[in-house]
């Protein structure tokens, strides 16, 4: 079979396609970047943790990357300002979880203890330990220790968790937090996925109604 000779460069078709797709891509990306750059000077958003709302690619997040990370549920492992070690507290000192995380018994939040409660013991005990001295420094500066939360959900989850009823239903701390006593600093060893919650709720004949947790 013969090829038509009509002086037309045979690659024009391909070129066209590339050009057009190019334009599409560039303009699309450009607009995307444009809006991204306007994120931080975007409409004012109250940013305190309880207020921070969600919505990927919307001004709800301080940046698109944050939005994406929330979207995928990527959370960096918590890095604590002071090398805190649960082990001695639970093993040597024979302390209960609730001794420091007192909120869990009566309220929604287990609460990370403030530097005051650390000092109740540590202005006498183990004062030589560098970590304890760090705590003392914070205390003297009148500052809280910026502990990082290990567990918790993104705001997207719209999840209202309440510790009290779970303790009332005698769910052990370890069930959801693992054997913290055997760790140095608490790690997120259990994935608090919806699956995890729902499975247990089913076992315990607890409500699996959406509004039990999401409201």
């Amino acid at each position: 079979m013969k090829v038509i000779k009509n002086g037309v460069h045979p690659h024009r078709g391909m070129l066209t396609l590339l050009i057009i797709l190019g334009i599409l891509g560039v303009v699309g990306l450009a607009s995307g970047l444009l809006f991204e750059s306007s994120i931080l000077k975007g409409q004012p958003i109250a940013q305190n943790p309880p207020v921070g709302t969600t919505g990927v690619f919307t001004p709800a997040h301080s940046s698109v990357s944050l939005a994406v990370r929330h979207f995928f549920g990527w959370r960096p492992a918590a890095v604590q300002p002071i090398a805190f070690n649960h082990k001695p507290h639970l093993e040597q000192a024979q302390m209960e979880c609730l001794y420091c995380h007192a909120g869990a018994l009566t309220g929604p939040r287990a609460t990370i203890p403030g530097v005051n409660s650390c000092m109740t013991c540590h202005n006498t005990i183990a004062k030589d330990k560098p970590a304890v001295q760090q705590i003392a420094e914070y205390f003297n500066r009148g500052e809280e220790i910026p502990w990082q939360r290990v567990y918790g959900w993104n705001d997207e989850a719209h999840l209202r968790f309440n510790h009290a009823p779970h303790l009332a239903a005698s769910v052990s701390c370890g069930k959801c937090h693992g054997d913290v006593g055997s760790m140095a600093d608490a790690k997120r060893i259990i994935d608090h996925s919806m699956n995890f919650c729902v499975t247990c709720h089913k076992e315990k004949k607890a409500s699996i109604d959406c509004v039990t947790c999401h409201f």
Binding site: I4, P10, T16, I19, V56, F71
Partner: protein, 450 residues
């Protein structure tokens, strides 16, 4: 049958594929920019939120949804019509079918974009896909939107197939006439087509089965689109005739679109020889029939509502008849009924231009119809305290415009890579030219379709 006529025909129809004028680049570039603007606007809407549109309380749906229904409607031209014509084996269809099927494919793609565009949080749209999720949750199969999701995908898939099958011999033809990457590309596309009788037989029977299958699918799709509205207890939505009403409307607007596209293709690719007045005339007749049917449905809908006289429906009804939305309503009646009727009935007026004018009217009219179905009902829903109104804002309008540009662009590219008229079908036609001519005369005389 002579080799020459064959090859000349082939050359004519293949010319667009091999020759590329600067005009093409310019058009393509312009269209591409408009489309890009559309995407940009979408990014903007996603970034800031639906608030940039004109949607409000209580009119939560506006232009985006109108466009969705409109484009799905347009898509009903192609595949459905060509399928019908294939089944009844109308020989005049040969040059028309592919133009038509292409419209379907692209209109569907564009139409299917709008449900995504109108979402408040489109990045979560994948929740409509049924898959065993860690949340132990499935899509809500009771929701018409989920039905849409399945219906549209089915239709898109089948009409792509329906478009690809008859293109195989033409791919092969191009393959045989090219070298280099095209030869490779079209070689792949033609799936090793050699034109053996066995292959021809397989193709024919496959086409026949597809044609049979596609008709119920097409009808079901727009019925389901109509369910989006008729399933809700909203004034003027909650109606039993919406299914057929929408299907008819869809075919109606579809044919109109087809006429316009054909006219453009004919002009731009110099296919006057192949796309002849008869095609426009016959499609015109088909459109006329649809116009009458559509008018009948509108009359029904309005009459019954008016007679039924339930207060919350009357508000919506009157707003379209005499109230705020009446100008649009009467424009619609003019475009869909008063304008096409004489142009398509009176023999003297029945020219290509006339048909195209009528078609333009119909496309506009049918768009208005979608709008008038969605917005007034929502404006006058519930207790009169919460009545509202709606005005589109620029993002919706830009995206609306971009959707048309997208259609044109896709069509342009398509005609660049695949002959817009099925060459082998034309040849088959020519081999029975005399028969065709005779048929044409007959149909002329009888003034019927086939």
């Amino acid at each position: 049958m002579t080799r020459k006529s064959d090859s000349s025909l082939t050359d004519d129809l293949l010319r667009p594929v091999f020759e590329t004028s600067t005009k093409f680049y310019v058009t393509a570039a312009v269209l591409a920019v408009i489309v890009a603007a559309g995407f940009g606007t979408w990014f903007y809407q996603i970034y800031w939120g639906m608030g940039v549109t004109g949607d409000n309380w209580p009119v939560f749906w506006g232009l985006h949804e109108t466009n969705f229904v409109f484009w799905i409607g347009i898509s009903h031209a192609g595949t459905l019509i060509s399928a019908i014509l294939r089944i009844v084996n109308a020989t005049w269809r040969r040059p028309v079918t592919r133009c038509a099927e292409v419209i379907t494919a692209f209109a569907l793609m564009i139409g299917a974009m709008f449900p995504l565009v109108h979402l408040g949080r489109p990045w979560l749209a994948w929740w409509l896909i049924p898959y065993p999720s860690e949340r132990l949750l499935w899509p809500n199969y009771r929701s018409p939107l989920v039905w849409d999701f399945f219906a549209i995908n089915t239709y898109l898939l089948s009409s792509l197939l329906f478009l690809a099958l008859p293109a195989i011999p033409d791919f092969a033809l191009i393959r045989d006439r090219t070298t280099g990457w095209r030869n490779w590309l079209y070689g792949k596309l033609s799936l090793g087509w050699q034109g053996t009788p066995r292959q021809w037989h397989r193709l024919e029977s496959a086409m026949h089965m597809m044609a049979l299958a596609i008709i119920p699918i097409a009808i079901s799709v727009h019925t389901i689109v109509s369910f989006d509205f008729s399933m809700a207890v909203v004034p003027m939505w909650h109606s039993t005739i919406f299914g057929p009403y929408f299907v008819v409307g869809a075919i109606f607007s579809g044919i109109a679109a087809l006429n316009i596209v054909m006219a453009i293709v004919r002009r731009m690719l110099h296919l006057e020889k192949y796309l002849q007045p008869i095609h426009f005339r016959n499609l015109g007749k088909l459109m006329l029939a649809m116009s009458l049917l559509w008018g009948y449905f509108v009359f029904n809908e309005r009459l019954v509502t008016w007679y039924g006289n339930t207060p919350h429906e009357m508000a919506a009804l009157w707003s379209t008849q005499l109230g705020r939305y009446s100008p649009m309503f009467w424009t619609m009646i003019f475009c869909n009924f008063i304008l096409p009727f004489p142009l398509l009935t009176i023999r003297k007026l029945r020219s290509i231009t006339a048909t195209v004018i009528a078609s333009c009217g119909v496309v506009i009219g049918m768009w208005l119809e979608r709008f008038l179905i969605i917005v007034p009902s929502l404006s006058y829903k519930g207790t009169s305290y919460s009545w509202g109104t709606y005005l589109p804002r620029w993002p919706e309008i830009v995206i609306f415009g971009a959707s048309f540009a997208a259609m044109a662009l896709l069509y342009l590219l398509f005609s660049k890579f695949i002959p817009i008229i099925s060459i082998w079908e034309m040849k088959v036609g020519q081999h029975s030219k005399i028969k065709v001519a005779a048929q044409v005369q007959e149909s002329e005389a009888a003034g019927e379709l086939v």
